[in-house]
């Protein structure tokens, strides 16, 4: 059977002030269905860039390589098509949308995705019921739905809001980019539970993190280490603990 997600030889660069900057330099990564994989790696190694390229951000130019998502050519799809196909990205820095009501935004998103998936749209009442329940399980204050998207949210509230969106959009593949950063211990568990609730033989996740703590709750299947735009090492869950204790230096020099 083909992999759920298959990234081969992915190279991507960005035009930064007229200078071509190569960021991804041959990323190879496969994720089977039902598994949770983790990417760790030093700051600036290209983790967020990989998540953006997978989600379809146009500023990054893919110069070579391919990404197959459930047999489809992911790179040929528009960002919203990828979302409809089941891809979700929890942003490292969620964006503020001034004047846009959070519940309204969520409902527009959910219905756009439902429409594309051939499901019936939710009316305001049905949606609000769902959203309120989801917010409650994530221990979010009810007024978060009434506020403007991420405007004035604390760091932790923004991350929870990302998980709320994920819960409502029901993705088959979720990328969480440092969703655990800046969270207190309780929030960390809430986020992990959010992901665990989605776990199913048809759901996979790619979790970007710097900390072992989240992985205690998540129980990942595989750990990958990224450095200088490539996956330099992969292993079982014990690899994360090792990195947590010893740091990256040893692995980086071994890989060099």
């Amino acid at each position: 059977m083909s992999q759920f997600l298959e990234i081969s030889g992915l190279n991507a660069r960005i035009d930064a002030d007229g200078q071509e900057k190569q960021i991804l330099r041959g990323v190879d990564l496969s994720i089977p269905p039902g598994e949770v994989h983790v990417i760790m790696g030093p700051n600036g190694s290209g983790k967020s860039t990989l998540s953006y390229v997978l989600a379809g951000r146009e500023d990054y130019e893919v110069t070579s390589g391919s990404v197959l998502f459930q047999g489809q050519d992911l790179l040929a799809m528009e960002p919203e098509e990828r979302a409809a196909a089941g891809l979700f990205l929890a942003f490292q820095s969620p964006v503020e949308l001034p004047g846009v009501n959070n519940a309204n935004f969520l409902r527009t998103a959910v219905n756009a995705v439902r429409r594309a998936r051939g499901q019936e749209e939710l009316d305001a009442v049905a949606f609000l019921k769902l959203a309120r329940e989801a917010a409650k399980t994530l221990s979010m204050a009810p007024d978060m739905l009434k506020r403007n998207v991420n405007v004035g949210f604390s760091g932790g509230e923004k991350k929870r809001n990302e998980v709320l969106q994920m819960t409502l959009l029901q993705p088959t593949f979720a990328i969480l980019d440092e969703t655990d950063s800046g969270l207190d211990v309780d929030a960390l568990r809430v986020v992990a539970e959010g992901v665990n609730r989605l776990r199913a033989p048809t759901f996979s996740a790619l979790v970007i993190t710097h900390h072992q703590k989240l992985l205690d709750y998540l129980v990942p299947d595989r750990i990958h280490v990224m450095a200088k735009g490539r996956i330099i090492l992969s292993g079982g869950p014990e690899l994360a603990r090792q990195i947590d204790q010893e740091g990256y230096t040893k692995f980086l020099s071994e890989a060099a």
Binding site: E58, V95, L97, A112, V113
Partner: protein, 494 residues
């Protein structure tokens, strides 16, 4: 392709096809010959069966107009207008002033139906009575080219003592009221277009709310220009007596035509002690095609006088149409403690030009004004906010707050803010804030990652940007305005 480029290109694709109100109604018309002279003015006046004083008033305005020139100070450009090449009167060929909807030409009713305007009060009334707090019926006056074709709910309003009728009828039926107020807020010689309007105005609405009466429903007028080469010169006069209040909305559309059409309206509002007037506009005249061919020249003078103490006049406008908009709804804050408000969203796309804003003239003590102006420019359009806040020496304790925000879509459009502040009283406080922003790639990408099309994303962000203004619209029209915003930027993506 970066989203910004795509957005820009898509906005440019926006053409005639997106203007959904561009159809033409085939109807027999009574058309005055082209040109403007005393003869034509006499003709209009006699068609309207006006009293002698009204004709004299028009003729005086005409003579004033002849000595005036087009204003040149606005940041808009257009070829000279040939005022002799315009029909100044066009009316559907039915008896003027139909007594009931049954007498109205069915083709006309169909037009309004297509526009989604609820003229059929029978149908509305036949339905279940709206529950408390639910959507209330709206009384509508429909103006087709030069005449009002139907005014609904007149009986219900009359029971409350409210007069809501075509102004031509008011001139005949309520001459004392019209004479007392007409031209007292916008004098006939106020400016070039106001003088022109005073000479040739054809129809529009008259509203009178007596002392202590809260008008029991929203009033609205829909204007439709249909005939070719005609100008529309409507005149609206709203007088609200002591302690009374009214909420009034105007909407407007026109067929798509290659030539430009002139629309020069005058609106006058008068608010006495503790009276309040809420005047909302959803302006959707045909904006012309993507090359800038055709479209309405919208040269409008709107002014409200807060004559009484603690009176309040609030202008809310959503301006998406017209090739050129020249419009500054203003408040003369005379009464002590009176309040003026101006909430505006102006959207320009393709080759549209808008020079719009407000004037708040503080004459009385402790007068207050608020200005919130949101400008959205796309394509090659150009938009200017022009606002004047003047505080006269006697206006101690006057306060003004102004907030002007511009949102640019693409990099070939322009947005300008021209605030004039004249403060002649040391004990007054005037604040001005302005921002300019672009829809960021981050915001667009965030929305699209959540499954929204780029178009929906732009719509959502733009609506968010305009929220402070949209929330001032009566509920019934807020939804309409939101859709309109989205449609006028349609194709802005994808």
């Amino acid at each position: 392709m970066p989203a910004a480029t795509e957005t820009r290109e898509a906005v440019e694709k926006l053409g005639q096809s997106t203007y959904k109100w561009g159809f033409e109604t085939d109807i027999e018309m009574d058309l005055a010959p082209k040109g403007l002279n005393e003869e034509i003015i006499r003709l209009i006046s006699s068609r309207k069966e006006e009293p002698e004083w009204m004709l004299e008033w028009r003729l005086a305005a005409f003579r004033t107009w002849q000595s005036m020139e087009d204003p040149k100070w606005a940041k808009v450009s257009y070829p000279p207008i040939d005022y002799q090449d315009v029909h100044y009167y066009a009316a559907p060929r039915t008896k003027p002033g139909p007594k009931s909807l049954d007498e109205v030409d069915p083709a006309l009713l169909k037009t309004y139906e297509k526009l989604g305007i609820p003229l059929h009060e029978q149908a509305l009334l036949a339905g279940v009575e709206p529950a408390e707090g639910e959507r209330l019926p709206v009384a509508v006056d429909a103006v087709f080219d030069s005449v009002s074709v139907a005014t609904t709910f007149r009986k219900t309003l009359a029971e409350a003592g409210v007069i809501f009728c075509p102004i031509s009828e008011a001139v005949r039926e309520h001459p004392e009221l019209v004479r007392r107020y007409l031209g007292t807020v916008v004098p006939a010689g106020d400016n070039f277009f106001a003088a022109l309007n005073s000479a040739v105005f054809t129809d529009g609405s008259f509203v009178y709310v007596p002392k202590g009466v809260r008008c029991p429903m929203e009033l609205s007028t829909y204007f439709r220009i249909n005939a070719r080469n005609t100008g529309q010169f409507e005149r609206t006069l709203i007088v609200v007596e002591e302690g009374a209040s009214v909420s009034y909305l105007e909407g407007c559309t026109a067929p798509m035509r290659d030539e430009n059409q002139l629309h020069a309206a005058v609106v006058e509002l008068v608010a006495m002690d503790d009276a309040s007037i809420k005047y909302s506009t959803v302006q959707n005249w045909y904006p012309g095609d993507e090359e800038g061919r055709g479209g309405i020249y919208n040269f409008v003078t709107k002014r409200g006088a807060c004559r009484g103490a603690r009176s309040k006049i609030s202008w809310t406008q959503v301006e998406t149409g017209s090739a050129i908009t020249w419009k500054y709804p203003s408040c003369i804050l005379q009464g002590e403690g009176s309040v003026g408000e101006f909430y505006s969203v102006a959207v320009t796309n393709n080759c549209q030009q808008a020079d719009t804003g407000t004037k708040m003239i503080h004459l009385g003590r402790n007068t207050r004004s608020t200005i919130i102006a949101k400008t959205i420019s796309a394509g090659r359009s150009d938009s200017t906010y022009r606002g004047l806040v003047r505080v006269q020496p006697k206006a101690s304790g006057a306060r003004n707050f102004t907030q002007c925000d511009s949102l640019l879509i693409g990099d070939r459009c322009g947005a300008h803010t021209v605030p004039y502040i004249e403060c002649r009283n040391m004990a007054a406080r005037v604040e001005h804030e302005a921002t300019t922003s672009k829809i960021s790639e981050d915001q667009l990408f965030y929305c699209r990652q959540r499954g929204l099309s780029e178009e929906d994303a732009v719509g959502l962000i733009v609506n968010g940007f305009c929220r402070d203004v949209l929330k001032e619209l009566p509920m019934e029209f807020a939804v309409e305005a939101q859709k309109l915003l989205q449609i006028s930027l349609e194709g802005s993506v994808g």
